[in-house]
């Protein structure tokens, strides 16, 4: 479903010179699976997912979503995905209903089908009370619901969640995680990036531990625990990252 192969992304950065945000990462995610990108802030998760959502272009390497190349067929790729990140906000001057309807129609869903689907969606996400509320008046949790509805309104085969629980309280975060799990059960291919171990443990079928633009370890959680002989994911994560930093002091990695 998602094939990422040797993805490299450089940024020109005055302070750090040619900054390597992604140093060639590869992974594959399948339908009915939640693939977790687990890494500290600045690991390159957002860059990788922005490339998958075609808003950024890779410097080298390839990535394809449902058979479409992100570099040469961006518009087809965007039809395959629902993308939600901490950076994809909701419009201040639109109501929840208008916002979801707008994106549904951008995806070319016929009006009657769209209304039907939205009714179901608003029901399931318990959004009926914010239906006519302007984005500017919504709480963070409400906005997050609208974002989920917006991302899944066209029933895409692939969903990308980038730090989707950032800044949410426990209740809202939990509801969101449940929604993601539900989507997996519907057979969607999901990429889920986070820096929170608990979320990864609870949700992800496979994880890749990303640090400084490289994948340090990859596999199911059980695989990783066995390979590194460490039950506690947080310990494991910490060990991998410190080992990487010792082997590659930040200066040499960044230059």
């Amino acid at each position: 479903m998602i094939h990422v192969d040797g993805l490299v992304k450089h940024y020109a950065d005055l302070r750090r010179g040619q900054f390597v945000a992604l140093g060639g990462i590869s992974f594959h995610a399948e339908p009915g699976q939640i693939y977790g990108l687990l890494g500290p802030n600045g690991a390159g998760k957002t860059t990788a997912l922005r490339i998958l959502s075609t808003v950024l272009r890779p410097t080298a390497g390839t990535a394809s979503v449902n058979g479409f190349d992100v570099l040469t067929q961006p518009s087809q790729v965007r039809h395959q995905i629902g993308f939600m990140s901490a950076n994809t906000a909701v419009y201040d001057r639109m109501t929840a209903w208008e916002m979801v309807e707008y994106f549904g129609r951008l995806h070319g869903i016929p009006q009657s089908e769209l209304t039907e689907r939205m009714e179901g969606l608003f029901e399931r996400l318990q959004m009926n009370e914010i239906r006519d509320l302007l984005g500017a008046k919504m709480s963070t949790g409400m906005k997050q619901k609208v974002s989920i509805a917006r991302a899944v309104v066209h029933d895409p085969p692939v969903l990308i969640f980038d730090e989707a629980t950032a800044g949410l309280d426990v209740l809202v975060a939990r509801a969101l995680l449940n929604a993601v799990a539900e989507l997996r059960d519907q057979g969607k291919c999901i990429v889920f990036s986070t820096h929170i171990m608990r979320e990864a443990e609870k949700l992800c079928d496979r994880v890749a531990i990303v640090h400084r633009g490289h994948i340090l370890a990859e596999g199911t959680l059980d695989d990783l625990r066995k390979q590194h002989d460490e039950r506690d994911l947080e310990e494991l994560f910490f060990r991998l990252i410190s080992r990487h930093d010792e082997a590659h002091p930040p200066e040499t990695v960044a230059s």
């Binding site: 040469t72 518009s75 039809h79 993308f83 208008e98």
Partner: protein, 755 residues
């Protein structure tokens, strides 16, 4: 592109703007309130600011003698004013001269007083004034008597002139009030002078009417047509229209681009299936609608206020309704152009705050284009109509003044130019939306040292687009500042050696040097940047043949350009002088200076560094055209610039297709060599080789080629051959082609998913 998506985005953006209270206020409420308020305050102020009196210092009033009455009750005599109320506005102060002082001293005092602003004007009558007036009258009388008529008229004239009495007025142009006072004084003086003339005429027994043999009567026929107030409105309305169309476009543009970036909704939109071009078009039309609406509301409000406040003044009579229609028609392309420009700028801005900063530069750049046509001499002609904005304003002005035929004649040209400008601006806006460095720009601390180190340290094989534009700008700047230093001052002798010196310095130091320096500093592969590669061998002779074939075509275009933009007489004289200087030199030196050196220097700069940088925009033709425009700008005379721009396109094409600088140099060299040598063809050659008559015919100052069309067709065939050559592409061009291939590969992809 899907138009239903454009419509969708458009309706969302409009709704979004209409829900913004600030926008509503700026667009609708402000203009409706602003002008009536301004009009009201104008009336209010008008009531308080009646005309202020000005002060006049009179020196030597007693020297007036028994000349006609000038003063009366410490005022100028009332009969000296057309409107006696005006007498109040000139307050008289008489300089005391008790005890009597020398006149020179009094005059100095008056001089100082006016300079210091104590009085607005001073009027000084010399001690001998009365005598002089008397003597003058006697002379006149004497000359008028029959006994004196034997003298010849010329010496009589001389005698009279030497005796004209000359009092002084002192005023200063540093003070407006002083100038006003001087003008008021002029009126008094004219009337008084008339009195004197009448006295003199009566003295010699001539009727008073002799002083006014002819009287010019003035008729303003505009009043008989509907265009009485048009002269004023036709100047004010277009400028107002432009200002408001721009302002009305700017604020929504900033909100819809920089604002969306700031609020984080842009990434949401970009990851939706909407194409960049659909997003741009939807936003563009929104901005355009608001721009037009703002302009219309403001003009309507201005018109209404003007009509209410100034309705009584004939010069403010409203223009006829049909001209309002013209305004409306002109508004569409103007708004489109401004909207596209604003959109691109706003997309570039990181935040709304940054966006606001760009309004002033944008106004400063577009205003001259709008205001220049308002200068008295400017009129609608083909040359002017080819300039964006200026053409539209002139067209509008002609239409408002009622010259519809003239306006209609240039309508297609203006529309075409405006459309082309719009398309370019839209293209730019789409590019901004495609550029991830623009969309995800982060504010960085300004650090020149770091930035320079980054430039030198992280350089790429070829320069960036910004580097290319900077190089062109550097060349233009250096030339601008150095050209005045290098060109001969008027009247100075200028020989061929001087020309050679100027030309060599220009080419080597101002064109080649910046480009080479920047190549060395900013790129890691000078070979790739300057296209220093061996081309396929056939391309060099092909470029030479192309230059020969295109020569008649270029000449023909040159004639058209000269027709459109006639060279001023001054410039013609300079050019003729230059031609004489050039013709004094041996041909080989001329070819070396005008063909060989520029071919190498200009090609290295424009087809080397600049074009290589511009090719990172990802479209071959766009890079070629941009570089040609920059090449044109680097030529100082407008007519030369246009020609250089046209030839620059061919040069760029040859350089890109051959992947080497050599064919371009060859083309440039042959092209320039033909230009300088064709005029120097010995006249007897045509007789000696009659076959030449089939190719050229003598015209004033040189020769013209026959067959420009045939040569053009042959040249086109050769260009097609060039076009088929496989050529090295930039990474961005490869990517663009891959994207085009990719979107064709699976055109039904989108449909499949949606269904």
């Amino acid at each position: 592109m899907s138009f239903s998506n454009v419509k969708l985005i458009l309706s969302r953006e409009i709704r979004d703007q209409l829900r913004d209270r600030r926008t509503l206020f700026m667009m609708f409420v402000l203009p409706i309130l602003l002008y009536p308020l301004l009009g009201m305050s104008f009336i209010q102020i008008q009531q308080f600011t009646e005309e202020k009196p000005t002060s006049v210092l009179v020196v030597g009033a007693r020297n007036l003698g028994d000349a006609p009455r000038l003063f009366e009750n410490s005022q100028f005599a009332l009969e000296l004013f057309s409107d006696p109320d005006m007498a109040r506005l000139l307050e008289l102060h008489f300089l005391r001269d008790e005890p009597p002082r020398p006149m020179a001293e009094q005059r100095d005092e008056a001089h100082r007083a006016v300079q210091a602003g104590q009085f607005d004007v001073a009027l000084c009558f010399p001690e001998t004034f009365a005598e002089e007036v008397e003597q003058f009258q006697q002379t006149i009388r004497r000359l008028a008597t029959p006994s004196a008529s034997g003298r010849n008229g010329e010496s009589a004239e001389l005698e009279i002139n030497s005796r004209i009495p000359q009092p002084d007025t002192l005023y200063t142009t540093t003070s407006d009030k002083s100038s006003i006072a001087q003008n008021r004084l002029d009126e008094v003086w004219n009337h008084w002078n008339q009195r004197l003339i009448e006295t003199n005429l009566t003295a010699v027994g001539l009727p008073v009417a002799a002083a006014r043999p002819v009287e010019l009567k003035r008729w303003d026929v505009a009043g008989e047509t509907a265009y009485r107030g048009a002269a004023l409105w036709s100047k004010i309305l277009p400028v107002l229209l432009l200002i408001w169309a721009l302002t009305g476009a700017f604020y929504p543009a900033v909100d819809l681009c920089a604002g969306e970036k700031e609020r984080g909704t842009l990434e949401t939109l970009l990851s939706s299936p909407a194409e960049r071009s659909e997003i741009v078009l939807g936003k563009l039309v929104t901005i355009m609608l608001f721009s037009m609406l703002t302009a219309v509301l403001n003009l309507a409000s201005v018109g209404l206020t003007g009509w209410l406040v100034f309705g009584d003044y004939p010069e403010f009579a409203p223009p006829p309704p049909v001209s309002v229609l013209w305004l409306a028609i002109a508004l569409v392309p103007i708004s489109a152009l401004f909207s596209a420009l604003c959109l691109a700028l706003a997309a570039f801005a990181r935040s709304t705050k940054e966006g606001q900063y760009y309004l002033m530069p944008l106004l400063l750049i577009t205003m001259p284009l709008a205001v220049l046509p308002m200068t008295p001499g400017a009129e609608l002609n083909l040359g002017n109509s080819l300039v964006p904005v200026t053409g539209a304003v002139l067209l509008l002005r002609s239409a408002l003044e009622g010259s519809y035929l003239l306006a209609l004649r240039f309508l297609p040209v203006v529309v075409a130019v405006t459309l082309a400008a719009c398309l370019l601006a839209v293209r730019w806006a789409v590019d901004q939306f495609n550029s991830e460095t623009v969309l995800f720009r982060e504010s960085e601390r300004l650090d020149v040292g770091l930035w320079l180190r980054h430039l030198l340290h992280d350089r790429q094989p070829t320069p960036t687009v910004a580097g290319a534009v900077f190089c062109a700008a550097a060349i233009l700047m250096v030339r601008f500042f150095m050209s005045s230093a290098l060109s001969p001052s008027p009247g100075e002798a200028f020989d061929f050696l001087d020309f050679a010196r100027v030309n060599l310095i220009t080419q080597l130091a101002m064109i080649a040097l910046p480009a080479l320096l920047m190549t060395a500093l900013l790129t890691s592969s000078p070979r790739q940047t300057l296209l220093l590669r061996l081309p396929p061998w056939r391309t060099v002779p092909a470029a030479i043949v192309l230059a020969v074939l295109l020569h008649p075509v270029v000449n023909a275009i040159h004639v058209v350009v000269q027709e459109l933009y006639p060279v001023s007489e001054n410039l013609k004289a300079t050019l003729r002088g230059m031609e004489q200087v050039l013709n004094s030199a041996p041909l080989w030196q001329l070819v070396l200076l005008i063909a060989v050196v520029p071919a190498i220097c200009e090609e290295l700069a424009f087809r080397g560094f600049i074009l290589s940088g511009l090719r990172h925009v990802g479209h071959k033709w766009r890079a070629i055209v941009y570089s040609a425009v920059l090449f044109g700008l680097a030529h100082t005379i407008l007519q030369q610039s246009l020609m250089a721009c046209i030839v620059g396109v061919v040069l760029g094409f040859v350089a890109v297709q051959s992947g080497s600088i050599l064919p371009a140099i060859a083309f440039h060299m042959v092209h320039n060599a033909l230009q300088v040598s064709i005029g120097r063809l010995p006249p007897d050659w045509l007789d000696r080789w009659p076959v030449l008559n089939y190719l050229i015919r003598p015209v004033e100052g040189g020769y013209m080629f026959h067959w420009p069309v045939a040569a053009g067709v042959a040249a086109l065939a050769l260009m097609i051959w060039f076009g088929r050559l496989p050529y090295p592409k930039s990474a961005e061009e490869e990517l663009q082609e891959a994207i085009e291939r990719g979107s064709h590969e699976d055109d039904d992809g989108a449909v499949r998913v949606v269904a």
